[in-house]
Symmetry: C2
Subunit: 218 residues, 2 copies
């Protein structure tokens, strides 16, 4: 604070030459988030010790605080990183699909099931559900970023089917959650009861898709 910047040592083209430290920083950040995901999903938010996160990430605890303000903000970042993703990709797929809407719906649901097969996802969902009461802001974020767009996309598919005469017209105001629910619940069930009541996800998915098509057809 004693001096204004009388000497700017910044070298040329900082973007082109990341430098060892720059690379390190992003790698650290990712390592912390990954480690935190592991710990949070295994222990739950409150029971997770930042010491354990640090050990898993191979760093000292203090370092976490160079990258994140608090345990809470780390948690939010974990959710953000792991759930936001392929939205554009999926929307594009739906927008450009050329076959029948039944096929589109089938493929779309298969994709969703594939997504929830990722081992990280169900524990994350469970955690968000469990912590929802104490993190209403997180619920809101989750709704705005994941749930709502997914519902809108699904609604678009249903409308497409109606317009083409494939689906019954009064499906237009159907609560989209009714279509979705088995995907999400299936994921949670696998997590909670999978050990002693295993589910054949492929069969489950096909039955579900078949069920939906029956329910929607004109």
């Amino acid at each position: 604070m004693a001096s204004e910047q009388h000497h700017i040592p910044k070298p040329a083209t900082p973007a082109a030459v990341p430098g060892k430290r720059e690379l390190q920083k992003e790698a650290r950040r990712v390592a912390i988030i990954d480690a935190a995901l592991e710990e949070f999903t295994a222990q739950g938010f409150t029971s997770t010790k930042l010491d354990d996160v640090a050990v898993r990430a191979g760093i000292g605890k203090g370092t976490i605080y160079l990258y994140f303000d608090s345990k809470e903000s780390l948690f939010e970042e974990v959710v953000r990183r792991n759930l936001l993703g392929s939205r554009e990709l999926v929307e594009n797929f739906v927008a450009t699909f050329e076959g029948s809407t039944a096929e589109l719906l089938t493929q779309h649901f298969r994709n969703m099931y594939l997504f929830t097969q990722n081992d990280k996802i169900p524990p994350l969902m469970a955690m968000i559900t469990g912590e929802a009461v104490r993190f209403p802001a997180l619920s809101r974020f989750f709704y705005d970023e994941i749930i709502k767009p997914s519902q809108e996309l699904m609604r678009r598919i249903v409308r497409r089917g109606i317009e083409r005469g494939e689906f019954r017209a009064d499906a237009d105001d159907l609560y989209i959650q009714i279509l979705f629910a088995p995907v999400l619940l299936g994921a949670l069930n696998r997590l909670q009861y999978g050990a002693f009541a295993p589910i054949d996800t492929a069969k489950y998915a096909e039955q579900h898709i078949d069920f939906i098509l029956r329910g929607l057809k004109a």
Copy 2:
């Protein structure tokens, strides 16, 4: 004891001192469980302080330990008390129903929706989901006592429909979760997103029931 301030009991324990200690004990037990339910569902398991439970129950913290071994066993008892219940009643209703299976199914689902309308239930479900990782035994208990019987009952209804020629025969090996899921997810959704994305549960329920009947009919 010179400066002993009279520790007149709180508003609790009015003049009513008719019964014996036995009655008092059961009442205390219930009071603790009720208070714990409130706190657990509002704060989550780990964040709930037994001091707060005690205050809410109008007793001292030490008293909780006269009735329960630990915070954990109190938690399990809360779940037990609030979710086990009307099983016989419901099974009897299904067993003796005389109308069409479509009517039976409709009524049964309406009952389930009614049950999940109880304000205690969704937070409890959310909590169980959230704590599942750390309490696998609770998951097991929950599955054996609630999920499995519910699924078996539903399966019986589906079979009844098939036998009477109302439902398609190949619905027999359908994953029952697919039918259930919207009920449970609806409850969780109301809890998590109800504040900013309200759901008309009655309409949701009717749409869901209609959807299921379409999916099942012969």
